[in-house]
């Protein structure tokens, strides 16, 4: 066994092991391509964008299901992107913003304050969906450390195979079809739904014994504010017009006081006057009885909000810039066909994804 052979065999083993592990890892990693849970690919999608946005939204499903960047672009020529993910916690929003700043510098950052109610890590699945799509950077490392529940390990984020390996017995055709990459399901971060389910008897929140937000949340809100100041980005706090989970007045007051204290704009879309101005009607503009807006509601909300942003932050109409125009034209095209596709499915199958009866079980 000459020295050369030893190195040869050693390298051979190392390389083949690495390749096999990488392939297996890609196979067992969830692809999030079967509706209704498509939200897993939201974060990764951002890296396909042109990194030239004037407005960046960060927050949970109240962001990525209630605002439509296509409307903001078509009506006002404002390029924006929604870096949203399922139950995105406040520190995850902070690190996603920090991560985005490595690629671009938006003029305005919009943060939905609902996640202030979660003081500590909630669920492993949501952490995975909010973090795994990120490219590796210190932001991702800090995001993992801040989000991990006790049973999770940092190593299983570096090597997802350590987490998903037991899925070997449920590898399906989808894992092979999307092995090299997933099909874009979102429109600059917007999750489109074209169906309608009027809001009815949405419960009023029962009183709580403790309305205070946790220290961690205040700390990250301050860090988000200072990050925006340092990069001279205007931070806008909003509460999206989702009727559930209930947005307690006591919470709202704390955010209003905070905004006033730091001279930040805070728009509570649940407020009657603002809601009236947006023209949102919960009988036609929501697809799940008031939890999230459908595409019609999102367009109304985005139209109003676009006007607000243009007037308050003098955001120019950049619809003539060729690169941006092309990028958003593609998105708009997909956007239109998606609406058509969902409408047809609605008439044919009674659900937007065209799932047959037994698939919906």
């Amino acid at each position: 066994m000459t020295k050369r052979n030893v190195i040869l065999y050693g390298l051979g083993m190392a390389v083949s092991a690495a390749v096999l592990l990488a392939v297996f890892q890609r196979l067992v990693q969830p692809k999030y391509m079967t509706p209704p849970s498509l939200d897993g690919n939201l974060i990764g999608d951002y890296y396909n964008s042109g990194y030239d946005h004037d407005v960046l939204f960060i927050g949970d499903c109240e962001c990525y299901e209630n605002f439509s960047p296509v409307t903001l672009w078509q009506d006002y020529g404002i390029p924006c992107y929604i870096r949203g993910s399922a139950q995105q916690l406040i520190w995850q929003s902070y690190y996603l913003l920090e991560d985005a700043l490595r690629y671009e510098k938006p003029k305005v950052a919009v943060f939905n304050v609902l996640s202030m109610k979660y003081g500590e890590p909630q669920k492993e699945e949501y952490n995975r969906m909010s973090i795994e799509g990120m490219r590796w950077s210190m932001s991702k490392v800090n995001n993992i450390k801040a989000s991990m529940t006790e049973e999770e390990s940092f190593l299983s984020y570096v090597f997802p195979v350590l987490r998903y390996h037991s899925g070997w017995s449920s590898i399906s055709a989808e894992d092979f079809r999307y092995f090299f990459g997933v099909k874009p399901n979102f429109f600059a971060g917007y999750y489109l739904r074209a169906d309608v389910k009027p809001a009815a008897n949405v419960p009023k929140g029962t009183p709580l014994t403790d309305y205070t937000f946790s220290e961690t949340c205040w700390d990250y809100l301050n860090r988000m504010r200072t990050l925006c100041e340092e990069n001279d980005i205007r931070l806008v706090l909003i509460k999206a017009p989702s009727l559930y989970p209930y947005w307690y007045p006591e919470w709202n007051d704390q955010i209003t006081d905070y905004a006033a204290a730091y001279d930040l704009p805070y728009i509570n879309f649940l407020d009657e006057e603002v809601l009236a101005e947006t023209g949102i009607d919960y009988n036609t503009d929501t697809y799940d009885a008031g939890l999230h807006l459908n595409v019609y509601g999102a367009e109304k909300l985005s139209h109003w909000f676009g006007g607000y942003l243009r007037d308050n932050y003098a955001l120019p109409d950049r619809s003539n810039e060729p690169l941006l125009a092309n990028e958003y034209a593609n998105i708009a095209a997909r956007y239109m066909s998606e609406i058509e596709w969902q409408k047809n499915n609605l008439t044919e199958y009674g659900n937007v994804f065209g799932l047959t009866a037994q698939e919906t079980q």
Partner: protein
Amino acid sequence: MNKKFTSVLAAAMLLTALTACGTAEDDSVAEPAEPAAAATTTTTAASTEAAALETTTAAEAESAGAAINYDYVLNGVTIVPGAESEAVLASLGTPDSTFEAPSCAFTGTSYYYTYGGVQVVTYPDEHDQSLNRFYEVDLMDATVSTPEGIKVGDTYDALVAKYGTPTQETPAFAMYKTEGKAVQFFLEGNNITQIVYVVQFN
């Protein structure tokens, strides 16, 4: 030459044996412990499994002397916060209204049912999403009252007279707590505005 050595050792061992009597005093904890491997540092006393969250149905004698009922009886059906909801909901008949709140992207939905002035809320079991448990029961108006006869609108003094000193209280609410659940009376000034039976996760 090594005459005393083994007898000293053997005697020491036998001594420990003589002091013992037959009863196996170790609480039988189902941890197989053959010479499989060395452990990390665990206490020598056999480590018992943490007692699972048991919902005690019998009302315990709380600080209030008279037994407080932490489960609400609606149309003759007892609702125990934290317990499985399927069977109980069936026996309650059709609710006046229902509201479903699916979590962002996954299965597991919270359900809100109203029966007259009472609202019943369920939550998905942590491990088995298809299984639902009672989260809380809210008495929203004066048409309904607690088994002890307190209802929305009554005064704080009437409450304390019936329930005794609360386990925890602030100007905004008075709470009576027991293992795994609690009854909360929300106050405005001296009157009760809402009553909530809610599960307490430790």
